[in-house]
Symmetry: D2
Subunit: 392 residues, 4 copies
Amino acid sequence: MNSTLERFGRRIRLGVIGGGPGSFIGPVHRAAARLADRYEVVAGVLSSDPAKSRRCGIEVGFAPDRAYRDAAAFFAGERGRADRVDAVAIMTPNDSHYALCCAAIAAGMDIICDKPLTTSLTDAMDLQRRVEESGIVFCHTFNYTGYPLVRQARAMVRDGELGEIRLVQVEYVYGNSAEIVEGETEDPPRHWHYRHESMGSSLILLDIGSHAHHMVRFVTGREFESVSADVARIVPGRKSDDHASLLFRMEGGAHGVMWITQSAAGSVNGLQFRVFGARGGLIWRQETPNQLHHLRHRQPEQIFERNGPGLKPEAVRACHVAMGHPEGYQEAFSTLYDDAAEAIVSRRLGESPRFPLSEMPTVADGVRTLQFVEAALASARDGRWARCGSPD
Amino acid sequence: MNSTLERFGRRIRLGVIGGGPGSFIGPVHRAAARLADRYEVVAGVLSSDPAKSRRCGIEVGFAPDRAYRDAAAFFAGERGRADRVDAVAIMTPNDSHYALCCAAIAAGMDIICDKPLTTSLTDAMDLQRRVEESGIVFCHTFNYTGYPLVRQARAMVRDGELGEIRLVQVEYVYGNSAEIVEGETEDPPRHWHYRHESMGSSLILLDIGSHAHHMVRFVTGREFESVSADVARIVPGRKSDDHASLLFRMEGGAHGVMWITQSAAGSVNGLQFRVFGARGGLIWRQETPNQLHHLRHRQPEQIFERNGPGLKPEAVRACHVAMGHPEGYQEAFSTLYDDAAEAIVSRRLGESPRFPLSEMPTVADGVRTLQFVEAALASARDGRWARCGSPD
Amino acid sequence: MNSTLERFGRRIRLGVIGGGPGSFIGPVHRAAARLADRYEVVAGVLSSDPAKSRRCGIEVGFAPDRAYRDAAAFFAGERGRADRVDAVAIMTPNDSHYALCCAAIAAGMDIICDKPLTTSLTDAMDLQRRVEESGIVFCHTFNYTGYPLVRQARAMVRDGELGEIRLVQVEYVYGNSAEIVEGETEDPPRHWHYRHESMGSSLILLDIGSHAHHMVRFVTGREFESVSADVARIVPGRKSDDHASLLFRMEGGAHGVMWITQSAAGSVNGLQFRVFGARGGLIWRQETPNQLHHLRHRQPEQIFERNGPGLKPEAVRACHVAMGHPEGYQEAFSTLYDDAAEAIVSRRLGESPRFPLSEMPTVADGVRTLQFVEAALASARDGRWARCGSPD
Amino acid sequence: MNSTLERFGRRIRLGVIGGGPGSFIGPVHRAAARLADRYEVVAGVLSSDPAKSRRCGIEVGFAPDRAYRDAAAFFAGERGRADRVDAVAIMTPNDSHYALCCAAIAAGMDIICDKPLTTSLTDAMDLQRRVEESGIVFCHTFNYTGYPLVRQARAMVRDGELGEIRLVQVEYVYGNSAEIVEGETEDPPRHWHYRHESMGSSLILLDIGSHAHHMVRFVTGREFESVSADVARIVPGRKSDDHASLLFRMEGGAHGVMWITQSAAGSVNGLQFRVFGARGGLIWRQETPNQLHHLRHRQPEQIFERNGPGLKPEAVRACHVAMGHPEGYQEAFSTLYDDAAEAIVSRRLGESPRFPLSEMPTVADGVRTLQFVEAALASARDGRWARCGSPD
């Protein structure tokens, strides 16, 4: 039943850096690990305030000596233990990812790391090199790819069920930042999300744009070639970008359009993609993730249900409960933790993974994000199309 | 009850040019006129083939001497009659609109004319001048503006219910041309829709792009300032554009994105707009036109029903039947005929219209379309943003 | 194109009785006749107040001598004319249908009559006999059967695409009478809808229950065998029924459940049916009438679009415009007018109709309604199942 | 953060009985416990086959001496341990619940038990008495009440936001048993779901009917008074009921209708309720559980989003992640585990719970189910209305 227990003899020991009190993503990571049932979360750093970090670590159940005050103490402490963590999950401000990942690699820990990879393309490429040289597992949490019907879409495109891909539309229309919040315009702003140095070049592109960009690559299996972008601050007084609209062209000739914003007042969490080929199209919406709409040329539309008829093996594998019993955000997140666990256990045992891991986003995907963001910002600045560089 | 009968003493006599056998739009125009119940369709030209035109005219019920062989005969014949038509509805290939409208103006007939206005901006501006000098009524059938909830959206924006407008998304995703059809690649193609000389510069922009463009202007009450466009032929072998994606900026600072295509395989007739201001947003979809979604910042979404609670007077006026009894395409089209009838009767009686006619699209809107198309094509050609000229 | 003009040499001359100022259904009947384009509405009685009837008749465009003061004058006047009406549409209070239909039969006029047929089963059966003996056309306006996708559902069931029918659910959940309205509790109430003598035995069953009952028979092609009913007045102070819930069993063994109310506060016009057989099910909702959901055992759900792929000929015939251009209530109503026109023209020419008329509801369907209502009321009174009599 | 750790000093030790290999509900219970993060699942009996039970227990991670061969061994083994389980979760065939609960009470363990409570009303009432006398916590997993928007609906009804409740509709339309499965018609059938002695009197009523019945009581806060039922086997050859439709009346005068089936071919897991009062109604559908539709008399419909604006405290408390990040079945299940944990910790500490526990379904709710089923079966047998007894 639980292949980690069976093969590895125990659950994977996981440390976490980031995601303390008030964090949205910290509890999600820990819940995803629990849902996957292949990890024990045993150690971590839960705040940039050392005292708070220790207190919170104890509150979430770490042994007192594994509720660390900071990342340096974490790496030092864990390296010295026989029962040290196998892997570390990193969910800190964007500008700290690079250094923490380097430290984890040095410590031989497998990595689960939030997006974006880094705040500069140079760092991203350096990190990719280090990961590849070390051979560690790197799971990059483009979590929306964990939804079963997103994996179904990818498999259908790959298997040619839509015909040659011609058109892509992706959007991430979010409403939560439709007004200036307290502390946002202070210098520096209270929340790291609004600090340029923490976020890197562009809040909107690195934060939700990275999800939209990866989703298109994931589903189509194709790379971006060039982009024409409009990047803007639409809430008066805001100092970071909160809107971007982009035209793009892809390898193989598909044309695309992307719309992302955090300031569409009244919107919820509207990530959606549509992809059309010669024979039909697919529509998936994150807010109703248990259905995938399959438009068919000269045939009635059909709707795939999660864990229902017509699903590909990789979609079925990502399902947690029976058809009709909705799954959501945490289950999708947990599927990435399951992928990572399979990769970690297999690497450490020197065995082949028991299922293909090609869906698991990794460091190379993070590099692609940075290339895309760089191209989009260049385009927006120059009012011209810009090419999305390739990593070699 | 029927204000045309009451005020004008009879129904408006209408002639039609175009829309014969096999036409989609011809029966729609005539049904819209019947639904409005303020017209008698009494004369016309129903085919470019003279014999067929005569036969079809008789088949739809014209008196034999008013089933004309061609447009010249129509204008000559009607000018000579005491009971001549008051107005003419024009639904011929795009490149004939200009000459037919000029002839109608010369004959003193009020005009109901399909979009696009003409195939060149020069002709469009000349036509606008002639219409304005003659004082005739010119109703330009951007028919989707006849939907009651589109009028509700416009009124809500105008009344500030969304706050200052920041974001606009509009799309017209259509699937019917996802493959090459018989005769399309002949030279000239069998159907005028695929002929460059008939359609003007760009099939996609003039045909459905014009609807998307006008819809944005209609709902926001603002003009386009500049546009960045990608215009393409995505079906292999096609000789006319069938896809365009556009970024745009509007007067007052709103940012927009537009996606239009006739070749999204499996799609139906997906015209949709979303508009967001500081306080909320609106979503309307042509395929479910009886609902308008009102997203509200920090309040639950609400849904306006056609002819239901919370509607503005201009939306209520455009309703034909009670809430919950769906209306559709023909009713919306008929609302434009109702607008036009009010304008025609009022002009001929020298009276004020009994309701405001600011929603009726007119020749000036057609000129704006041509300016937009010209800017979009320039942008697509140059890979740069282009300004949308203003008519003066 | 217009087969009535072609075959009959002219449009059918139609008189109307009922549907004057303030009426919902009067304008709908007249619009449906105009949409069908096979009728001229030339004469009628538009109010029970003779002066008002004359004035309104002129207002809607009748010649002054055909704007009659009452039904007696209408029948007398029309019988005396060479150009007398071919058919009469009756939309008066329920308790007048019987006498008006008898008069129309005596005058040799074909009949289009609103539901319910009569207010007593005895009258209904007598009327059926008279209609059958006279041979006139009787179109009974169960208008929701005019929707193309309702006809698609019927054809799919008939062709065995769901397998043997096992389950039926139908509901008509309406919100408009969720509170007592002015004049409702006067004695007699101001609006005939609330008068027992006008409505017959049960407002809820005869008014919207009749639609629900006929819809089930229409779609399944099977008769009701027995029923267990709860009939109630849920708005305090109301003197007529406004809620009924019913269990039923059908010929062939299917089990059903029906829920109808006019007092579900906040509801719109929620007529919906679901029918399930061994291999799948169908769901149709009047508020989104352009889609039919086809649930399939061990296959993904598919959605039929009006005038789209996979439609049966009888569904296509009921479509007015292209797929994706929504149709609604008036178009569905107009399809019954088209059916009636085909029946009328064919009968008068002694020819076969050019398409099958088995979908047109007729007097026999009206008798079934009365039998069903009688059984339901008996069941509600006795707290037991009751059999729905058959007309033998 | 984790109030169990903080207050109780450790997580609650949980044993499980049932839910081994091939079970749907076993993994759900264990995932719900992990999600709630207040339990350690440390011991259990995972199969009725002793060897399999031991093997599976070890596979899911129990210490070998706590992977018990059967329930007797479980109770004996745990009673002898200092670190014995605080609570036991029971998910075995229906006819074993009574004895297992009695054993747990005798062992002083708190209980989390699947529905239905027992297979006879006598046993159910006896069990209620024992639970009450012992003072243990009894959480009865009517898991659909864990959805945040179901709790919102309950709170809105309680706070009078719909006005006096008049109408209730509930349905559970499931498709999975639309055909006879392998082994179903053997004697005894292979799966306990189809065995009369395991299921009790009526598969359909005890299995999904119990959810529908409890949902109505939960949301309205009112009891059933009487019921008229049609209970049937619609799949040919089936020996257990797979369809029931019911009319019912509630305390306070509301009228209701219920439709439940496991054999609606092509359906998924369609639990839905609608409740209407004088001022409006609510609609919730299990398949899209993150929205609650609020119909309002003479105002536009509004839609509540999980964790969004307008939610009551008890609904917010049941939310796990931010608005727009969907939650599903497992999260709802986990909310009951969180309720139970609060009850267990508070009881053992002799403290008040930190939040009200009135939403947690308990043994008394299980008794109500059995009373309802008894009344429904009597009604179906007699063809008459039957009263739902009250527990005293």
